[in-house]
Each structure stands twice: as structure tokens, then as C-alpha cells.
Symmetry: C2
Subunit: 283 residues, 2 copies
């Protein structure tokens, strides 16, 4: 495994490998890797000749009041995980490498896709995501790029962007990885106290309950919403950012649960805002 | 010469040619080609194995009140010109191909580079330019892309974008091509009446006078501006959009004329707004 800090050097190398007919799989991350990231890398390892991962805590996707410096980092542990999976090249740029003085270009996915859900409370977040992912795509020239479905809205935004910008690659969404008790893995879980960690289980329970209701034949989105909200509200200090029942492709809200459905939530459990979701095909 | 209307088909072809080690030169145009465009293609033909040109009247770069439908088009004449230069592939997409339903991603170069000069009077223009050029870059995968210096601000915006977005290509700015009497070539010249055509010469004359003053040792930008303005104001019906004396790299206005200098103007001569500029190294 080799570490690159220069995007141009990495690109030159990858271009020469691609000329030999090798395919490139790419897993962009902000580091502090867990089994969720690992699952993306394992899959990308299997599906490509070359595996590239990036570790970059991207300042432009942190909204006002969000603490960039406090974001957890552990490159040593990250390197061990990536080595164990068989990552070939790690791109580990400095902020100056990605955003040199004078940098002034941004990619925006407009419309409700970025304005609702996480976009409503995190101004500029998806612009930062679309911009850094575009830059990384141009440097890491992947044939396939892997993203976790835990950030379902991020996946939808990136898919939209890849299609609109005519990027020549496939976006591969990968399933959420959970702890044994159901909690979706996240770098943010590290902020949870023991008490909060226990209460956080209500998030995945509320989604399990939603699935159960749908299996029982309930199709009224408001009924499902109310039941999910009641479960989460039983954590007295939790603060709901959103609970949404959506068309999985457009992320438009549904009144009637049918088709390709995404049920997504974002809830502050103490300090961290936790995300979780389920996607299901409903007749 | 082959015409492509599908971006994906063209890209697949160009990718296979690049795998054979062939270099790709690219000249994006809005059609209605003249000797200015031809000079870009002649140069690109010389410097690359494969020459790709695009003809697409891009709706997103027309500002409010600008008449997209009235933009001159003549594909037959364009094809003859491109054939004569030895263009290999013409990309001629429909609007639906470039902006299908649901398209919602845009590239923005922010800051004074796009807010002043043509950006001040043409809201959204440079967003449209940056977006379509990004898309064309991703479809035509050029090693080199050629742009005319008549649109000096456009060249600066695209250079900024290519650097910021880590596009893997070289932007090649090419000199303005003029009529024998000095008028800068432009598709918009077709709108000029005989009288206006004669008066329009004052634009290049004012730039020639500016050059003369600098050669005489004058360094006060305001003196040069005043003299240029007087020359252009002698066309009674002309309306000046801007006359700017700038640092050629940053496009920041200069008080003292020194270094790499761009003198640029935009003037409505009757219906069309005409652009012209000179770039000079001043000690």
C-alpha cells in the first residue's frame, strides 16, 4: 500500500495503469474508518483491479457552526484497516493541496434534492460534497466509486451529479453496516455516552417498526411517521431533525407508501446527529 | 469527418483511441463558425492526433432577455469549414442530450472573476459556460482545449475552473483573429449594418491608441481609459458596457499599467455587444 499526497502524481500513476487496461475502484472517506467503510473497500477490492481510497476531512462540507477541528482523526488505525483490505493506493492530501489559495470553483446540485433533509440544516454541505467528490473523481479517475447508503441523500446527490456532469464512472451504493444490536455504524458514534449509546438504538427500532407496519399492510405515511416519532420521542433529550418517508429515487415525500421507498431519519442523540434509513420495495 | 449526437458514443470512441496513445485536441463552439474558430481548429489539428469540435448553442449561458432562438446557426457552412481544417469528429448534441429532464447540477466560478465585466451585465452567463464546458470536457476527454482570446474573461474563468476542478487537460488560449481593417471576428458581427460595421472599427482603434500611449511611456490607467472612452463615444449611438485595464491573470483593475496587462472592452454598437481586447507585457 502506497500513500500519495500529490493528486497529480497519483493521477499520472493511475492513468498509466488504466492504459494497461486495469480498472480502478475508488472509496472516498473522511477517515476514522469503521466496518462500514471497510465493507465498501472489500466490495471495491473484489470488483476492480486497482483499489484507491482517499482520506480527507473536507472543510467545505462542514456547515456554519460545525466543528471541523473536532472531527475525529486516526490515520494510523485507518492505515491498518486499509492495509488489511488490500487497498493499493491511499490519497491523503493536505487542505492546501485540495483548496490552494485562489480556489473559487464549486459544484452545486440544485433543487429539492439538496434543500430538504440534511440540506435544510447544513447550509452549503452538499455543495462541499459535490465539489470535493468532483475533484477527487478527476484525480482518482475511477471506473467505480463506492458510497455507503447510511448517507442516502449524499448517494442521491452524487448520482445526480455524476449523470448531469457526464462523469464516466459508476456510482455503487452499498448497504448500511450495523452493530449486532442494530445501531448503524458511524464515525459520530464515538461521541455517544454509554447512556446515549443505549438510547440511540431507538433509531433503528423505529425503522424496524416502520418496516413491520408496512408488512402488516399499512400504507398511510402519516401513521408510520407518527409511530416512528413516538418511539424516538421516548428518548427525552433527543432532538429530531427529520423523519422522512420518500420516493427513493427523487427523495420527494410520499403520502402513500408505494414503490421504491426510502425511510430516513436524522436525530441528535446528545451531541452527535445520527442518521439511519431503510430502503424497501413496496407493492 | 464524422458527426456524433450521442455524448456517450463519442466518449467511448475517444477513450479507445486514447488507449492507443492518441492525443485529443478539442474546440468547443456555438457554431456559425468564422476564421476565428478556424484558427483554433488549425492549431489544434497541428498539435494533436485527433481533433474534436463541438457545435452546441448552450441555452444556460444566455442571460435573461438574451435571445437564444435568434442566435445565428448554419450547420452546413460549419461542416464545410470543419471538413476543410481536418476535424475528425464533430459533437452536435441536442439540448435534450446535454440537459435532460431533471438536470440540476451547475458549476460556479465564484468571486470577482465572474462578477465584473461581462459577468455584471449577463447574470448566470459564466455559470452556464463553466457547466457546459465541464460537461463537454467529461464527454470529449481532451488533452488540450482551445479557446479564443476575444473572450478573455471566458478564458480566465475556464482556466480557473480547470485548475480548481483538477481537470486533466491544458487550456490553450489563442490570439484574436481580425478583419484586414482591424475588427475582431465574431459571430455577432453579422448583426451590424453597413454604417455600424464602419463605426465598430473605433473599438480596435481605441485599443491601438491605448497601446500607442503605453509605448509612449504613459502608465496612468485613467488617462488611457479617458482617451479610449473619447474615441468610442464618438460613435453617437454606441453604449459602453465596460472599458477595463486589468491584470491579465487575476482580472483585477489596475491604476498603474504594469506587468501582464489586459485591456478589454465591451460596447453595444447598435444591436450587438462587441468584445475586443489586447494583452501586453508592460515594463
Amino acid at each position: 500500500m502506497e500513500l500519495y499526497t500529490s493528486g497529480k502524481q497519483l493521477r499520472d500513476l493511475l492513468k498509466s495503469l488504466k492504459k494497461e487496461g486495469k480498472s480502478v475502484g475508488f472509496v472516498p472517506t473522511m477517515g476514522f474508518l469503521h466496518e462500514g467503510h471497510k465493507s465498501l473497500m472489500v466490495r471495491a477490492r473484489r470488483e476492480n483491479d486497482i483499489l484507491v481510497a482517499s482520506v480527507f476531512v473536507n472543510p467545505t462540507q462542514f456547515g456554519p457552526g460545525e466543528d471541523l477541528d473536532a472531527y475525529p482523526r486516526d490515520l494510523e488505525s485507518d492505515q491498518k484497516l486499509m492495509e488489511s483490505v488490500g487497498v493499493d493506493y491511499v490519497f491523503f492530501p493536505t487542505t492546501e493541496e485540495m483548496y490552494p489559495t485562489g480556489h473559487n470553483t464549486y459544484v452545486n446540485v440544485e433543487g429539492s434534492l439538496t434543500k430538504r433533509m440534511c440540506g435544510a440544516s447544513r447550509e452549503g454541505h452538499f455543495q462541499g460534497v459535490a465539489t470535493i467528490v468532483s475533484k477527487l473523481f478527476n484525480l482518482c479517475v475511477p471506473d467505480r466509486a463506492y458510497f455507503g447508503m447510511k448517507d442516502a441523500q449524499q448517494v442521491a446527490v452524487i448520482q445526480r451529479m455524476v449523470e448531469d456532469m457526464n462523469f464516466d464512472l459508476e456510482v455503487v451504493p452499498c448497504p448500511i453496516v450495523r452493530e449486532q444490536d442494530g445501531l448503524a455504524l458511524s464515525s459520530r458514534n464515538t461521541y455517544l455516552s454509554t447512556e446515549e449509546r443505549k438510547d440511540a438504538l431507538k433509531l433503528s427500532s423505529s425503522l424496524a417498526r416502520a418496516r413491520e407496519m408496512i408488512e402488516e399492510g399499512i400504507r398511510d405515511a402519516h401513521l408510520i411517521y407518527d409511530e416512528m416519532k413516538a418511539i424516538i420521542d421516548s428518548i427525552p433529550y433527543a432532538r429530531i431533525d427529520y423523519i422522512e418517508i420518500l420516493d427513493a429515487r427523487t427523495l420527494e415525500p410520499l403520502n402513500l407508501v408505494a414503490g421504491d421507498v426510502l425511510i430516513a431519519l436524522a436525530v441528535w442523540v446528545g451531541k452527535p446527529k445520527l442518521l439511519d434509513n431503510i430502503r424497501l420495495e413496496v407493492e
